[in-house]
Symmetry: C2
Subunit: 228 residues, 2 copies
Amino acid sequence: GRKVLIVYAHQEPRSFNGSLKRVAVEELSKQGCSVTVSDLYAMQFEPRATRNDIVGCLHNSDEFNYGVETWEAYKRGALSNDLMEEQKKVQEADLLIFQFPLYWFSMPAIMKGWMDRVLVQGFAHEFPNCYDSGLLKDKLALFSFTTGGSKEMYTKGGISGDIRYLLWPMQHGIMHFCGVKVLVPHICFAPECVSEEKRKEMLIAWAQRLKTLWKEEPINCSPEWYFK
Amino acid sequence: GRKVLIVYAHQEPRSFNGSLKRVAVEELSKQGCSVTVSDLYAMQFEPRATRNDIVGCLHNSDEFNYGVETWEAYKRGALSNDLMEEQKKVQEADLLIFQFPLYWFSMPAIMKGWMDRVLVQGFAHEFPNCYDSGLLKDKLALFSFTTGGSKEMYTKGGISGDIRYLLWPMQHGIMHFCGVKVLVPHICFAPECVSEEKRKEMLIAWAQRLKTLWKEEPINCSPEWYFK
């Protein structure tokens, strides 16, 4: 059975994001996958990258450098417990699903904090092991999110530009950098502006896609996919 | 005298980001500007968008919707104090400078949380007042940041792609959406990899730029600037 980690960022279980998360847990479990959910708001996950992420003495306490300190702490097993637990979940997972409402053309800060703090050097990448040789290669990622704006706004000629433009930092800058292969994102446009009927169809479409997810090919995560 | 708000996200005052911030405070004060700094880590700024941002009863407590609740709370003056204080600083500023180290092709989570929580509907935008007619029009913004990777990596043919690709969500998706005009970003590439001498030159170049900042024209914040 394959292992899936769902990193989920919504405050309200009754939200449409909550429903998308539940659909994924149900469908993937039905397939025999083992599914873990990191429910970031429920965990009160800490988004701030601070000295508290390192247990014990610092490598250089004269000038705090978060990247260097977490790298050193990772090597000696001295990262804070919440980080080590998330890293364990990532390590065991074949697929990472990020489920969130789009906030300001990106993920909510609580999820950005998960990226900033969990994917430390030594664990997720370590030069020259980045991009295709990143340390999390052989894993897959899928960004599943909802928008406020309509599909028409997020087109090449639309006021918000092609939705792919805003996927570059998340898919290429984070996941590809760590070697993770990226599946086509799953985007539910403006669920708050459509009928209950249409929202149900969106949930069914998500469940449907998940049925054949493991047969999908990752995208070619290069500028052409995003900006051509 | 013009008013400047510097939103600053680095843990360490002795860092290069700390120096860039100090240079800006000194140079702009020398010009007669009134400069305010929001030092996010020092303030232990809360990045998580939660129910705590609303004082008193919710508009709809059956299903918590952060966007709706903060919009309603803004209108009745019931946002939490830390948000109202930041909004007051924004309201008074002619120029917003965001100073940070690039984390994962974007800003650190603590700064993303500032965007998520401070720029609420009603205050920064309110349909149809978005983009060119956003509620913060007549203000300027400037993203000033440091990178880990070199300038060569952040080029069209480079492994990390043109640096402008990653500016789209921050400059267009956030600032332009709120009507703020964007000045050319100030980017210090890989300060940790160069000599002390070169770092000093970078600080001088920043001070130099600030001397004539008010004569600069904003960029044309459209897809052509980012992806042409």
